[in-house]
């Protein structure tokens, strides 16, 4: 029996990372990493992580706190004084107010440290470029440079590859891919501001609902009653 190489997968608990986990599982033994960083819905995202990790029977889990991101603030996701925009006309052009400054570097750095210690050969991250919110640290170029940083910043014998399998997919393609692989989309959470039932109104809910509509299927999670679907 051949043993699959180990990979660290960043699993926030959203759809993109859930489907990325399903893709990684085809070729790698999974080690799942989750971070709470003071985002509004951190408890709900943690539950999604646990349920997805249980679904795949993964024992190798690392859950970390990045309190520094809340201390630093500067984003509607981590600073409760900044509102999450609901009405598209409220949105200024450019980088969204939900951008957490340089967040993915914190997540990837943790993934690299862990991968180097547990001897994982790959890091999977569910970054989405084309159909996403315009965060600078979701661009393919960003991951190319981060790979170079791993090359120069770790032990000479360390080889860790970053894989971004959904980066060029539309959200609706990610949903179809997830359904094809039997990913537990019913356990995922995307809403930026509610934890019981998804609000259906924030950027992240809107993207999700539009994607399920495009994919021609019903979103299996619960939304507030007033949301038109």
């Amino acid at each position: 029996m051949s043993v699959k190489p180990k990979a660290v997968v960043l699993l926030s608990g959203g759809m993109d990372s859930c489907v990325t986990t399903a893709i990684a599982k085809q070729t790698h033994t999974l080690a799942l990493l989750h971070a709470s960083y003071g985002q509004r819905t951190e408890a709900r995202e943690r539950r999604a992580f646990d349920e997805i990790a249980d679904f795949y029977g993964v024992k190798d889990r690392l859950v970390i706190r990045l309190d520094s991101l809340r201390q630093i603030g500067g984003s509607a996701l981590t600073d409760l004084r900044i509102a999450v925009p609901e009405n598209p006309s409220d949105k200024p052009a450019g980088i969204p107010i939900t951008y957490v400054p340089f967040r993915n570097a914190h997540l990837l750095s943790t993934a690299v440290s862990w991968a180097e210690v547990i001897d994982a050969q790959a890091i999977f991250i569910g970054a989405v470029f084309e159909d996403s919110s315009g965060y600078p640290d979701c661009r393919p170029e960003y991951y190319r440079v981060f790979s170079e940083l791993i090359e120069v910043g770790t032990r000479p014998e360390t080889r860790i590859e970053i894989q971004t399998p959904v980066i060029h997919m539309r959200k609706s393609e990610i949903i179809r891919k997830g359904m094809e692989l039997g990913a537990p989309l019913h356990f995922t959470w995307s809403c930026y501001q509610a934890e019981e039932e998804a609000c259906g109104a924030c950027d992240s809910c809107r993207l999700r609902l539009r994607a399920f509509a495009e994919a021609g299927s019903a979103d299996p999670i619960a939304y507030r009653a007033q949301v038109a679907r």
Copy 2:
């Protein structure tokens, strides 16, 4: 009166970062960043940070915890089951056992997030290449790639430059530079394993003692009585 641009300075509390702070102060308004990451001497390093920050009268301070590095382990600095080597013959060739996997990426990522929020235009880090311990993330190449990561991973209008003013200095030159600038070397802490009086035996103490000898001056901090100086 012209206002100096703001810089985030990584201040561990050791000599290199103290002298880097003194250098940064010549051209920038200081914002000082310190991290505890479960290293053996974290309380003592924090005290050094506070004393140096007080010395320079800096109000803009951010102290963070990187507990993930202790959770991950894999280094003699963060895993109490791995001994800090004292006898040079105990040292395996290559990367030292005190290397904390990919640590500087965590520190720099925090510095970038903070710099982006407070509108700092530079990050100073006291990495030392030539006369140091051989950590891969102290090489000039590493900082060149990290600068590129900042360029691609932050808002388009963000301009943050990484400065490594002591990277090519020998430790003895760093001491001379610090004395020339009136840096408070008496507040710095370098020892990897003791917090009351420096052990004088670990790698970091040895490097420090040798450097003061080369610089022709006495180290102002206290060592255990048995240390031959």
